[in-house]
C-alpha cells in the first residue's frame, strides 16, 4: 500500500523565558493508506506537538521553530510539502485533506455557534456548497455519526450536548469533507468507558467506509490494542520504538515500552488483588532539562553508565518493520 503522509526528521523547538524546549526531535514515519498509526506517550513526550506541527497549527519563529519535511500525497497523486506551503494553501488542506479531532470537544467547538453551522462552515469553505446545501449535509453528517434527531441537534449549541455527543459532532465536522487522513488527539480521554467504546467503534466503522488513514494519539495502551495497526512510542520528544501493534504489545524491545505495558492495570489483575503494579520508578523528565545520553536511563532497570549515559542512542532497525532506540536492546532481548 502506498504512503499517504510521510514525515521526515520533524523537529519542534520552543524558545521562551523558561529557556529552550526541544519538544520534538527527529520524528520520522510514513502513514499508509487505510492504516491506523497510534502515537503513544505520556505527558511531554511530544505526541500532540507532533500532530500540531504537521497540521502547521503551532506559532511561528522566533518562539517556535519547526524543521523537517511533511509530504502529503493527495488523491490525484499530487505531492505537497506541507511545511513550506503558503498559509492560504495550507488552510485549504486543513479540514479537507487532513481532518483533526481533539481531546475535549467543549474547548474545540465554538460555544456561541450552533453545532450544525460549525459543520456547515467547512463544507461551505472547502466544497463551495450553498448555505442551504451545506446545512442539509451537516444534518445528514450528524445522523451518520449516530446522533439521534440530527436536525434538532444541528440547532443546538455545544453546551446543550453531552460529552459523547459533542465528540460525535467533532467527528462529523472532521469528516465532513472526507479527508484522506484523520488526526485524532486523545479523542476519548475525557469520555466514560461506555462512551469511549462507542466512539472507537464509530471511528473504526467510518474508516472502513471511507478508506481514510488515521493517526491516533493516546496515552492509553488498551485503546492502542483496540484501534492500531502500527504504534510509535514516544518518550521525551523522540520516537523510542516503532512496530506493528502485535509485536509492540507482545514483544517490546525498548525497556520504556515494556515498562509502560507492564504498568497498565488490567481487569485480570483482580486475580492477584492487593498485588502491586509494575511501576516505572521516577518521573517523566522536565523537557527543559532532559538527561544526557539515553533520556530514559535514569528510570531504566537495564541502564549501564556505558553506553546508556554516554550517548543518545540512535533509532535502529531490529527487524524490517521494527525500530528501537536503545543501545542495549540486543543484550536485553537475549
Amino acid at each position: 500500500m502506498s504512503d499517504v503522509l510521510t514525515v521526515t526528521d520533524l523537529a519542534v523547538r520552543f524558545t521562551g523565558e523558561g529557556g529552550i524546549v526541544d519538544a520534538v526531535e527527529g520524528v520520522s514515519f510514513a502513514l499508509k493508506e487505510r492504516e491506523t498509526l497510534a502515537i503513544v506517550g505520556e505527558s511531554s513526550s511530544g505526541k500532540s506537538v507532533t500532530a500540531l506541527a504537521l497540521m502547521r497549527l503551532l506559532g511561528g519563529p522566533p518562539n517556535c521553530v519547526v524543521r523537517g519535511q511533511v509530504t502529503l500525497r493527495r488523491q490525484d497523486g499530487e505531492r505537497l510539502e506541507l511545511l513550506s506551503l503558503p498559509e492560504a494553501r495550507m488552510a485549504s488542506i486543513r479540514g479537507r485533506d487532513i481532518g483533526m479531532i481533539f481531546q475535549e470537544p467543549m474547548t474545540s467547538l465554538n460555544p456561541v455557534q450552533r453545532v450544525g453551522a460549525q459543520i456547515a462552515e467547512g463544507l461551505h469553505a472547502h466544497e463551495r456548497l450553498s448555505a442551504r446545501a451545506a446545512s442539509d449535509r451537516a444534518v445528514s453528517l450528524l445522523g451518520h455519526v449516530g446522533i439521534p434527531e440530527p436536525a434538532l441537534r444541528a440547532r443546538a449549541y455545544p453546551h446543550q450536548l453531552s460529552g459523547g455527543m459533542r465528540q460525535r459532532a467533532m467527528i462529523a465536522m472532521a469528516l465532513a469533507c472526507r479527508p484522506r487522513v484523520l488526526i485524532a488527539d486523545e479523542p476519548t480521554t475525557a469520555l466514560d468507558v461506555t462512551i469511549q467504546a462507542q466512539i472507537l467503534e464509530l471511528i473504526r466503522a467510518l474508516q472502513k467506509e471511507t478508506g481514510m488513514s488515521v493517526i491516533f494519539i493516546t496515552h492509553n495502551l488498551g485503546v492502542v490494542a483496540e484501534v492500531a495497526d502500527r504504534v510509535l512510542v514516544m518518550y521525551a520528544g523522540q520516537v523510542v520504538e516503532d512496530a506493528p501493534v502485535a509485536t509492540l504489545l507482545g514483544r517490546p524491545l525498548m525497556p520504556y515500552s515494556a515498562g509502560l505495558i507492564a504498568s497498565v492495570p488490567r481487569l485480570d489483575d483482580v486475580r492477584r488483588r492487593g498485588g502491586r503494579l509494575a511501576a516505572i520508578p521516577g518521573n517523566v523528565p522536565d523537557p527543559r532539562a532532559r538527561p544526557a545520553g539515553c533520556t530514559f536511563h535514569p528510570r531504566c532497570a537495564h541502564a549501564r553508565p556505558d553506553p546508556c549515559e554516554a550517548a543518545r542512542p540512535a533509532l535502529e532497525a531490529a527487524a524490517p518493520d521494527h525500530a528501537v532506540r536503545c543501545a542495549r536492546w540486543r543484550e536485553i532481548a537475549a
Binding site: 468507558v193 461506555t194 490494542a225 483496540e226 504498568s263 488490567r266 481487569l267 485480570d268 489483575d269 518521573n283
Partner: protein, 337 residues
Amino acid sequence: MSGTGAPLLEVTDLAKHYPITGGRTLRAVDGVSFTLGAGEVLGIVGESGSGKTTLGRTVLRLTAASAGTIRFRGEEITDYSRRRMRPVRRHMQLVFQDPYASLNPRMSVEQILAIPLQVHEPGLKRAERRDRIEAVLSTVGLFPEAASRYPHEFSGGQRQRVGIARALICNPALLVADEPVSALDVSVQAQVVNLLLDLRQRLGLAILFIAHDLAVVGLISDRVAVMYLGRIVEIAETTTLFARPRHPYTEALFSAVPDIGGRHDRILLQGDIPSPVSPPSGCPFRTRCPYAEAACAEALPPLVERAPGHFAACRRPELTLSSPLSPQPVSRFAADA
C-alpha cells in the same frame, strides 16, 4: 478484611437531592445503603453522572444529606453541626482527583501539612509538629527536604503524594479517595496505586475508593459498588463481582474497557446516561439495557441479595451475564510470541 462488631461507616437510605429551576429535583444520590468495615476498601464505580462523587462528599458531610442516615464509628453524624463535626473530621479525610488544583500554590508543603495539625491537634509543640510532618512524608515516599518546597516544584505524582500525606497526617480511620490516580501519567499512576495498596496494608485504613477505572478498582478494593443514576445497582465482594456480574450494567461497563490483550466482542451500550432530573420510570437502566423487557418500566427493582453478600437490582435474575475474566487469559498477541 472487614472488622468485627459495628462497621466503621454505616450509610442507610442516603439521598442527596438538588432543587433546580422549574420546581424540579435533581436526584444525584437516591436510596443508597452500604457499610464499610474498619480497614476495608470499598470501590465505587459508575459513569460520570452516576452520583459517585456526590456520594463521597455527602458521606463526609461536605454537603448535607437530603434524607437517610450516616453513622460513623457508631455515632450518627447525619445532622451534626459544623462545630460538632469538627472532632469527627480528623478521622475522615479526602484525597482529591486533581493534584494541581487541590494544593495551595503559595504554601510550602510544610505549611500545607501543618494546617490539619493546627486544627485537630493544636496542643502540639513545634518540634513534634515537625516530626509528624517528616514522618508522614516518609510514609508517602517523599524525602524530608520536600517540606520546604512549593507545589509547583513537584511532578503530578509527587503532588498527589503530598495530597495523600495531608489526608493521613492526623491518622484518619477513613479515607475517601475521589479518582486519586486518574489525572496521572500511566507510569506514575502505577506508583500511586502501589502507595495506596501499601498504606491500606500498613495503616489498616478504610478507603472509599471512587474511580472510573475498573482495573484499578479491582486491584485495590475488597468490595465494589456499581452506581447508576444515583443508585447502587450491584454490590459484591470484588472477585465475585468480576467473576460473575449479576447486573447488565456491570456487564456492559466491564465489556467497554479496552483491553491491552486485544479486541474482544463487546456489548455496546446505546446512547448516554439519562438525565438524573428525569430518570426513566421503573429500572433506571432499562433505556440502555440490552435485556430490557416491557415489565422493566413498571417498578424500580430493589437491591436483592442473590448470593451471600452479592446484591443486584435487576428483575431478571435468570440472565447469564458474561464476565470480564477470560477462563484462561487468551491474547490475540500470544500466538505471535
